[in-house]
């Protein structure tokens, strides 16, 4: 056993990359849930984004276009959910699960010609001398653009939800759609926008997997990342900052457990493999026990059907 082989600086840099897909998808879902909609189709939107982004990047040679296409693809798929739940008032839990099923199938169909193809490389952002700063340089200034975008989005979503009128309206819709409607806000329209945003973010997260983190296309390659993103939103009790914490915690434990294995730590592998999930549960228990009423942070109208009866 040789723990000195684990370099905390390098580990931190790795966990940021590892956590980015979940972080992006979870941020999107946060906005969706803040508007009072529960979309369990994150996995389906992620994988659809993964193939849309991959195919576009391969065809055009541009990862940037790929990322944009992934967002468009994820958002387009999310509109199926949007129409069903907002106009036809279908059950959100079931529709979301159906969306996952559909997205997994659709993505595999779209991706048939892309197995074994190597996508164009996504460059690290060249930050010149900044990357050479000891410790901080490696952690903060050695990533690709999407990592910075994801961090900027954390701050942006936090600020928008907290300080802007748009954020206030979104939260109002999520807390009490009848009151928001009575005040003249277009509940359905606002929710559709939130759902589309969530789809775009999930798509972006998926494309980060297929274009940067793995990078390749295989059927079902998200392998459950969308579910983790959903769990992270709950973990974060619907706060943007804590989504970041949750995603990095989860990604961190994943990376750490692999590092511990490589270093030869004598802990059963099954336990190490289960550790990201166990640690997430434990941390949440500690936090919710501490503050008692964490569950009350959930948007009051989450998952409830809205129908403008007047």
């Amino acid at each position: 056993m040789d723990l000195s082989a684990i370099n905390p600086v390098v580990l931190t840099a790795s966990l940021m990359v590892a956590a980015t897909p979940i972080l992006l998808a979870a941020l999107g879902e946060l906005v969706v849930e803040k508007s009072g909609v529960l979309n369990l189709g994150v996995e389906g939107m992620m994988i659809t984004g993964a193939i849309c982004g991959f195919a576009t990047a391969v065809e055009t040679g541009s990862p940037t276009l790929g990322f944009l296409a992934a967002m468009a693809g994820g958002a387009a798929l999310s509109m199926v959910f949007g129409v069903l739940t907002q106009f036809l008032m279908s059950n959100q839990v079931a529709t979301g699960l159906a969306l996952t099923l559909f997205g997994l199938g659709l993505s595999a169909l779209l991706g048939q010609g892309y197995v074994g193809v190597k996508p164009p490389a996504t460059d690290r952002l060249d930050l010149g001398p900044l990357a050479d700063i000891p410790v901080l340089g490696r952690i903060l200034f050695s990533h690709d653009l999407v990592v910075y975008v994801s961090l900027a989005l954390v701050a942006g979503i936090w600020a928008v939800l907290r300080f802007t009128r748009a954020g206030l309206i979104l939260r109002a819709v999520g807390e009490n759609h009848d009151a928001a409607h009575a005040l003249g806000y277009k509940v359905v329209r606002i929710r559709l926008m939130a759902i589309a945003f969530g789809g775009a973010m999930a798509g972006l997260g998926g494309a980060y997997l297929s274009l940067v983190r793995v990078p390749q296309w295989t059927e079902g390659m998200t392998a459950g990342a969308g579910w983790i993103a959903l769990a992270i939103v709950v973990f974060a009790s619907w706060r943007a900052g804590r989504v970041l914490l949750g995603a990095y915690l989860f990604g961190g434990v994943v990376v750490l457990q692999l590092n511990l294995q490589a270093a030869g730590v004598a802990v059963p592998v099954e336990l190490l493999s289960a550790s990201p999930y166990l640690v997430t549960i434990l941390v949440l228990v500690v936090m919710s026990a501490d503050r008692g009423r964490a569950a009350l942070n959930a948007p009051a109208c989450l998952g409830r059907v809205f129908h403008a009866s007047s």
Binding site: A5, I6, N7, V10, L11, S14, V17, A18, P21, A108, G111, Q112, V115, G116, V117, K118, L209, R213, V214, P215, Q216, T218, E219, G220, M221, T222, A223, G224, A225, V254, V255, L258, N259, Q261, A262, A263, G264, A266, P268, V269, E270, S273
Partner: protein, 357 residues
Amino acid sequence: MNRRTLLATAAFAIGLAGAASAQDSTKVGFVFVGPIGDGGWTYEHNQGRLAVEEHFGDAVETVYQESVPEGADAERVLTQMALSGADLIFTTSFGYMDPTLNVAAKFPNVKFEHATGYKRADNVGTYSARFYEGRAVQGHIAGKLTESNIIGYIASYPIPEVIRGINAAYIHAKKVNPDVQFKVIWAYTWFDPAKEADAATALIEQGADVILQHTDSTAPQAAAEKAGNVYTFGQASDMGEYAPMPRVSSIIDNWAPYYIDRVQAVIDSTWESDDTWDGIGAGMVKIGEITDAVPADVKAEALALKEAIANGDYHPFTGPLNKQDGTVWLAEGETADDGTLLGMDFYVEGLTGEIPQ
């Protein structure tokens, strides 16, 4: 199953099996555990299926079913395939073993070929590939290439197949480089590209400059490419898109010759149940092109080793070899028997860490 149901199903099966064989073209079924787009295990089996189609043309019709879970679903899929008139069915994952035998008992006229299993019947044969022969060649190259003397190994689950691969690679890396050290990560998944990427990154960060993998995605190749001076090997398929660096060679599953051979046997009515375990010699395991990133002398040695294994001059598990705990496994000049290899559940001497149990 009680006696009455057994008889009833048998009668039912015989009637249908009779109907099934009364057609012209030979129907060959394939049952796959993953999607044919997995780029690895199932992808290569499907390549074999396509080769069968191309070879026989109209004389053979192939059908397949992908992503069939092992267990109850497999049994149903197999039964339905047999009912539809298949003459020969390849079941391409270990977990199909008992379902294959159950269904084979009901359809005595249909032939079954089960990959990687050990149970046979009159109409059930087994086949598998000696991937460890390829691992030996890999280990040799890896031992020569590493400068940090740390070789990373991404393993899936601790089953004999995987353990055999680790041992074969280690023995031959150690032979050319006594200081070599293996770091093994058990991913505990067959399929999770993101986790494979993380595992590769963790190994590289801990000093590994050669990564071997027993998982099917190209994620480790990409991680190695990003890191720069790290060598990798393609697994299951060639992964040639990462050549010449980081992918310096590969082990390719090549099922086509075997599949064509067995289908021909069914057409000629010469098919018999047997146990095939072929390696480099028979062409079931192929070594992908060794690129110029490997020094010429190392390449020549590797090819010589491959040649010696192929023509049977050399067995990758030849004594003296000790087990990890220091007890003698093979004496000088002794080679491992297939039984021990098939059930291998121990590391050889020199490997550190424990096999998870």
